[in-house]
């Protein structure tokens, strides 16, 4: 094989990885998260409920371009709000309500177990989220 055909093969292989990555990243949205059983009226009455119906969404909380660049800041803010303040509801500019939880993201993106890893691998970033949080690679969400 000459140099040029080697180059062509490498190019084709690289291209196919990118096409696969693109499909992975844009893989579809899953439906709603199942309703939970055993709801206690007394606990429900004393619990602050998120306004509106969260999680079940066909659209991302914010535009894709924004999320690509800023999802880490969004998650960091969500973590502080929900863990430390108990403020669990995120309202996006269109007025849709979402639960401030990683599960909101995985409600859709969990359908593609590679979603987070593809980009992180490509960008060579090593976030520590999955040291504790269970990724869709480990358990189905």
């Amino acid at each position: 094989m000459n140099k040029f055909s080697q180059f062509l093969v490498a190019l084709a292989a690289g291209l196919s990885v990118f096409v696969a990555a693109w499909f992975f990243i844009h893989a579809g949205h899953r439906g709603s998260v199942p309703a939970h059983a055993e709801v206690s009226p007394a606990v429900a009455a004393a619990t602050v409920k998120p306004g509106g119906a969260p999680v079940d969404s066909a659209k991302c909380i914010l535009p894709t371009d924004y999320m690509r660049a800023h999802h880490m800041q969004v998650l960091d803010k969500w973590r502080k709000d929900s863990v430390r303040k108990g403020n669990r509801t995120f309202v996006n500019p269109e007025g849709a309500h979402f639960d401030k939880s990683l599960n909101t993201c995985l409600g859709c993106h969990g359908s593609n177990p590679m979603f987070c890893f593809m980009c992180h691998e490509y960008a060579n970033v090593k976030p520590t989220c999955w040291n504790c949080h269970l990724s869709p690679m480990e358990v189905s969400q």
């Binding site: 939970h36 055993e38 709801v39 206690s40 007394a42 606990v43 429900a44 004393a46 619990t47 602050v48 409920k49 998120p50 306004g51 973590r79 709000d81 863990v83 430390r84 303040k85 108990g86 403020n87 669990r88 509801t89 520590t128 040291n131 504790c132 949080h133 269970l134 480990e138 358990v139 189905s140 969400q141």
Partner: protein, 258 residues
């Protein structure tokens, strides 16, 4: 642009007049209306709710470990296989270990032999949160003493401060020691402390804690201690109850019927 002195004074006078008018209520003062922020957030009012639990030790008998198994499964609690590095959220203690300062003289021998269910007391005055240098462990708005695992540096000051042994440390990576991963709660990593969280991940969905729903004997009652009409408050009023080491002034939120 030039503006002579007379013109300037005229405008300034008009402005002052408008200000006076607004103050006197002649014009509607839009800018002064208070902002209604009630729609901005659903953050809870701190101290409104105080979650608590009542353990009826008369019903919690024998070798049943249903609640322990369920809790430790749901929260991905690792099993390292030896007591020295044991991680536990809820466990059974001998009566005299659970209530070391309670009088046992001439006590009913059946009571002395009881295995008492013990867990974090979610103290009203928690010594653990005061010891934590990073505020990783903190008292929540609803009385739950929580650990923000993201912030825990593993110094274990809180373990030394807790008078009930409610906290465990992950000396190793817990992941390989979890029998079956549950997607209801994250795991921890090596070097953080963990303990019972009163199932805050279930409460937010309006569900009772996992131990409470798993108990076939209905030995566990959970509810809001600040609500005089809650079931737990009614049961506390109707029964003789105990807290663990009450003399320490930690004001536990876990109560026991003996």
């Amino acid at each position: 642009m030039s503006q002579n002195r007379r013109e300037f004074l005229k405008k300034a006078g008009l402005g002052a007049l408008a200000g006076l008018g607004a103050a006197a209520g002649l014009f509607p003062a839009f800018a002064l209306e208070p902002t209604d922020s009630s729609g901005f957030t659903d953050a809870p009012v701190p101290g409104k709710v105080r979650w608590g639990m009542l353990v009826d030790t008369r019903k919690c008998l024998g070798n049943c470990t249903e609640c322990i198994v369920r809790c430790h499964h749901d929260h991905n609690v690792p099993d390292f296989g030896h007591t020295k590095s044991e991680v536990k959220w809820i466990w059974k203690s001998g009566y005299e270990n659970a209530f070391p300062t309670a009088s046992t003289q001439f006590q009913n021998p059946e009571v002395l032999e009881r295995q008492v269910l013990t867990l974090c007391n979610h103290c009203t005055e928690p010594p653990c949160t005061k010891a934590c240098p990073t505020e990783a462990t903190f008292k929540r708005w609803d009385g739950i003493v929580s650990i923000d695992y993201h912030r825990c540096i593993g110094c274990r000051f809180c373990m030394a401060a807790c008078p009930y042994g409610s906290r465990s440390f992950n000396w190793q990576d817990p992941r390989p020691h979890i029998k079956e991963l549950s997607n209801t709660y994250p795991t921890r990593m090596r070097g953080v402390v963990e303990k019972c969280n009163f199932c805050s991940e279930r409460l937010v969905k309006g569900e009772l804690p996992a131990c409470v729903v798993s108990c076939a004997e209905n030995a566990l009652t959970f509810g809001d201690l600040n609500d005089p009409n809650s079931e737990i408050r009614k049961m506390l009023a109707a029964n003789e109850t105990m807290q663990r080491k009450p003399e320490l002034g930690t004001l536990p939120s876990v109560f026991y019927i003996i």
